[in-house]
Amino acid sequence: MNIVKQLGLVLFLIGLGIFTATLFTGNFSLTEAELNDFVASKGYKSEIIKAELKKATVTDEDLNIFEFSSRVRNAYAASNNHYDALIAKYDAEKNWDKKGEQFQYKIYGKPHTLSYEIAKKAGSGFVRDNPGLLWWLTFGLAILGALLFILPNLKLLGRPGIKHNGIYHESSTNRGWIAWLVLVYLVSFYLLLYFMADYVVNWTYILDPISEFLNGGQASQWFVYGFLYCVIMIVMAVRMYIKYRHNKYQIIRTTSVLFFQIVFAFLIPEIMTSLNMPGYDFKNAFPLDYDFFFEWNLDSLRESGAVGLFILVWGVVLTIVIVPVMVYFFGKRWYCSWVCGCGGLAETLGDPYRQHSNKSLNAWKLERWLIHSVLVFSLVMTLVTLYCYFSGAEAFLGIKSQWIKDTYSFLIGAWFAGVIGTGFYPIFGNRVWCRFGCPLAAYLGLVQRFKSRFRITTNGGQCISCGNCSTYCEQGIDVRAYAQKGENIVRASCVGCGVCSAVCPRGVLKLENGPENGRINSKDILLGNDVDLMDLVNQNK
């Protein structure tokens, strides 16, 4: 069994190695005809971009993606610099007409994004020519390897039950060097994905056939991400199924997040795209879906007829009605650990790291400040955007619409949710984003704390203060602090993962939806102690 596991690990690492290595392969260049097509399709007005791009991309040299990207970005920079210089010149001459004319020649967009578009067309080589083979060598090997690594747990873990043996002895799960390596890999992955997509263009070739099959178009970096996301969740869900095979709550919950990721986040949007509709993730509620009210999205929905209108209405109803009503009945868990994509990754890929969430009081304070700030930030951004959208103004309350959207997308959308949120799993735990950053979680949390039937019931005086619950709470809630006092746990941040209840060796915790009355029960005296004393102390409160 152990040999199978080792073999699995080796296969997985080979798959991952090849996957990573593909980034360094391939030659990138365009023919003159291809370049002309591209420039024409973009409708650039710049008179020199074509010449600059020709110098950069129409070549016999063997350029790898990094060289190619650098040349392309320089070409755009050269073009823009040229017009910037003209602008400065006319500005000095106070020739306002001429100055004004120059702006149309400038090309906007992030350099790596511009470069990505050309690179996608410019690549050639083994990877692009053999996507099927490469799929098997990367995804295929890694999936097979991971499964071989995971499946023997059925036997190796012993009989069904909580088996956390060795978690704090292993480098990978105890913040050792393996954990740091994983962190570096994940962070690099997100940095490339969000900020240097052209560098990962080779990965998109591997998935072109699948993308074409699903939506008729070639794979983008976001398709790669979505596909990878599903694959990782499926494989790691197998691990969850084995680990919690004695716990039906965990099994059903895992199946639920998996279903919503694959069907709602991945397949439906792809199919909608292939039908020329806007691809929409019907479960992704604003303000987690922070660009729902951005101009481009509203425009695209307005142009999409009935479907667009439906999505618009659905999006609003989801956030204003469905989400809070469901939280009232079931707690925020219905979203955070049953439906949400971020939650889904955290509960599968992130499960081995759940113990790293910080349980200190200071972390709780930081959490409340941060998450509510992000909520306010997202609401202000949306207000500004909507105001500007309908009024045609550029700014509201002195805040520029474009600026605040860019800032939010960069700081919260990319860095917080992605790079930090997932990249830091191995060191800071699997719910960094959900706990400190997610504006939707902040909103759900407020409802859960003040108007909900959900609570974790503490079973009288049975707690032995062992601390398993607190250690494994991914949201950094000090569950024991409540349980040992015989007090129910009602906390805004609890995502109802149910793991505290699962790991408790004394059967102290139960996630329940019950009457609001008596949900929050501060007790200082244990159930079973002198009845008069209980009354006395509880009256003194």
Binding site: Y168, N247, G528, V531
Partner: protein, 446 residues
């Protein structure tokens, strides 16, 4: 000057007393311990060795907590109490004055004078130092080729699980014919025997330790079984044959002791201003049907809660309510509410249900004639403490309990419910026609 309350022992009982005294008053509080700087949960020692937690996770309060609540912590071993001068003498040579003294020194593992019981590699499993010693002598299966555990109680089975988690072969010597059968009825005890064996542990029932032999370096080499004379080679011996109050240091003071520090219902000793709580306290007479010495977590807590009132001027009797407890045997969780004795008493009758998987069962104990419910043992099914506490106070019948089992169930959501099967079996055996009621929040919270 506020009164100075000194507490010897930073376990759950001493710490609970300190916390509640602080809530009720501004008295000066000092907690003394020789074991660790900060309070930790002894019950979680096993999880540290098993790698489920780090030691810091066993500490229920962050380190700043003590200073913020003005509870002074002193590390040191008290080796003499001078009650006339109200002074503690420490092994380190210094002294400490008190106005009121709370003795909360807990237990220590029993040793019955076995030859070789003090060799290197022989240890109990009670203090943090025992954990460190286990880590030293049994870090893995290469260093420790086999471990022998002597004494089949709750700590013994935990130690077996600990060693098993590091794949160290374990031989488990149990004096009784069946595991913990002084407490558990036969069916349940048999289930735990099966669980132990299923985990690959070499369970030796009805086996006593004769002696522990040493190698040339004074380290454990083997043990010899009394009954068979069999010699079992091993590197570690765990002594888990029960615990007794850790009170040697007051044996020659004028505080009255028996097995533990003798206290009345107010947790007062014979000497004014000296109290004892937790594992080390011994009631003159067991309360209700409890034992005079209760070495469990929650009673230590309750005694601390109660004594804090007395110390702060509201003299209260220690009145633990209905008995309850819980444990976990490898993968099988156990809870008990009320009394279920190993042997049925004359006025009692039993109902026993076991799941076909052999890992779940419940036992209901009730009065033969009045049918009053007396207690329940439940294995592999979690039950609601509040439910049974109320049932016992209201003196409900066993039939009522069976009818309302759904209210009692505390398993996580979506778990398969076994109540219908239980009720069906109960009806057949008792010629009753009880219909299981649906779970009702109203009843649960009434």
């Amino acid at each position: 000057m506020e009164e100075h309350i000194v507490i010897i022992g930073n376990g759950v009982s001493g710490v609970t007393a300190a916390r509640h005294i602080r809530k009720l008053s501004d008295k000066k509080i000092t907690i003394v311990s020789a074991e660790t700087d900060y309070f930790f949960s002894r019950t979680a020692l096993m999880y540290v060795y098993m790698g489920h937690m780090k030691f810091e996770h066993t500490q229920p309060y962050e380190n700043w907590f003590w200073k913020k609540n003005r509870i002074a912590l002193k590390k040191g071993f008290v080796n003499q109490v001078d009650t006339a001068a109200k002074t503690l003498h420490f092994a380190e040579g210094d002294t400490l004055q008190y106005d009121k003294l709370i003795i909360a020194t807990g237990s220590k593992p029993n040793k019955f004078g076995w030859p070789g019981q003090d060799l290197d590699g022989v240890m109990g499993m009670y203090h943090k130092q025992d954990l460190e010693s286990l880590e030293k002598y049994a870090p893995n299966k290469e260093v420790c080729k086999r471990a022998v555990i002597v004494g089949g109680g709750l700590i013994g089975i935990e130690l077996a699980e600990m060693l098993h988690s590091r794949h160290i072969p374990v031989t488990f010597l149990v004096r009784e014919e069946s595991f913990w059968n002084g407490v558990l009825p036969a069916g349940e005890s048999a289930m735990i025997n099966r669980e132990i064996i299923a985990n690959g542990i070499d369970l030796r029932l009805a086996s006593n330790l004769k002696e522990i032999t040493a190698d040339a370096n004074g380290q454990v080499k083997s043990i010899i079984i009394q009954e068979t004379g069999e010699e079992i080679a091993c590197n570690v011996v765990g002594l888990t044959a029960g615990v007794s109050p850790n009170i040697d240091f007051i044996k020659d003071s004028d505080i009255e002791t028996g097995r533990g520090v003798k206290v009345n219902r107010y947790l007062e000793t014979n000497v004014p201003d000296v109290y004892a709580i937790g594992d080390c306290a011994e009631q003159y007479k067991g309360i209700d049907q409890r034992r005079p010495i209760e070495a469990v977590w929650y009673t230590g807590r309750m005694m601390g809660e109660t004594l804090a009132q007395t110390i702060c001027g509201n003299r209260l009797q220690y009145k633990p309510g209905h008995w309850f407890n819980s444990a976990k045997f490898m993968d099988i969780e156990y809870q008990t509410y009320g009394w279920v004795w190993a042997q049925t008493k004359d006025n009692e009758a039993r109902f026993y249900w076991e799941h076909t998987d052999g890992n779940k069962c419940i036992t209901l104990n009730y009065d033969k004639t009045t049918r009053e419910f007396i207690g329940i043992n439940t294995f592999g099914i979690r039950m609601r403490h509040e439910f049974f506490d109320k049932i016992l106070t209201e003196k409900q019948s066993v039939d009522y309990v069976v009818e309302h089992l759904a209210d009692a169930n505390f398993d996580p959501e979506f778990y398969k419910l076994h109540e219908p099967a239980i009720v069906a079996k109960f009806n057949t055996e008792n010629n009753t026609n009880i219909k299981l009621k649906n779970k009702s929040w109203k009843r649960i919270f009434a």
